[in-house]
Subunit: 183 residues, 2 copies
């Protein structure tokens, strides 16, 4: 049990009933605070803009809506992020011939450049964050986290009764959970 770098109160919390929820929140929120401040400070953009840029570069021609299934954020957040990326010239939109409502998104050369920078930085941050684990442990951790992510109730909860999601909010994408029809 490697409690050594955690203070007494944290140790106590991480021994309580809600330990798992508390612990993963602690990790991700703590990490986000550091990372978000860095990105906002260095690149004058909200983190969601960089997330969106990442998604667009990775999936050329992706639609705005689809970005939401990768980064579970509200619809208007993505909309604004894309608008910012367009203003800065990092992203261009090709009109979709099949559907006039859709925006088909592509990164520009400039966008790719800045993304490469930011990705390199993120990789170093990732290495730093996971440094306490051995390579094997990292694999194990990743595998287990993947199981959690693939669970049916991550984005929609049965016990919290959060099934009437408003339109602008997270929606459990039918694509994301293909053949579910729970019980």
């Amino acid at each position: 049990m490697s409690f050594m770098a955690l203070n007494e109160k944290l140790t106590t919390v991480f021994a309580g009933d809600l330990r798992e929820l508390m612990l993963i929140s602690y990790i991700v929120l703590g990490n986000n605070a550091v990372t978000n401040r860095f990105i906002e400070g260095s690149y004058q953009m909200p983190v969601h803009a960089w997330s969106s840029l990442y998604a667009i570069d990775r999936f050329p021609g992706i639609r705005a809506k689809e970005i939401r299934s990768i980064f579970p954020r509200p619809q208007n957040t993505i909309s604004r992020a894309i608008s910012l990326l367009e203003q800065r010239g990092y992203v261009r939109q090709g009109a979709s011939e099949s559907d006039g409502r859709e925006k088909r998104l592509f990164t520009t050369t400039q966008g790719q450049q800045i993304l490469a920078e930011m990705t390199a930085m993120s990789l170093r941050r990732q290495a730093e964050l996971f440094a306490p684990l051995t390579a094997e442990e990292r694999d194990t951790f990743f595998g287990l986290a993947l199981k959690i992510a693939a669970g049916q109730n991550l984005l929609q909860s049965v016990v919290l009764g959060s099934n009437e999601a408003p339109s602008s909010t997270l929606v459990a994408d039918p694509i994301l959970n293909p053949g579910v029809d729970r019980d």
Copy 2:
């Protein structure tokens, strides 16, 4: 590899270089969106208020500042959360005799009641979230996450150069990382 409930794009992202960062963020941000909406909707308070209430109940007499080492949030966020909890009568502050600036915080009976409700709900949510794992896998996952949390660079990054934290922001508590002096 249990990719079954993840769509194609997510599967791709979770196979890329930034997979670990992407995956844990996906889990926690997705979960938070659901949970926050529930707490805000059901209890008319921001999540940080409930976090603070939890901390105060768990550590009677805790100071506002110390809550920050459990929940890595900015100072003014905690300040506001406590102010709300006081207004609602969930928390009372005993004056500290040793230091006139400090607030020693305690939950009221009313606060304990509502906390019990919320905790019960969180427990069910936790069970739901981790349901894809066996008991043994949960232990493994928890142990590895604990190692990450206990790492030196969670709240302060060397590679992002985020060491000049402003006063109202996250501070790597000296208590939290006791005898570090990194090389």
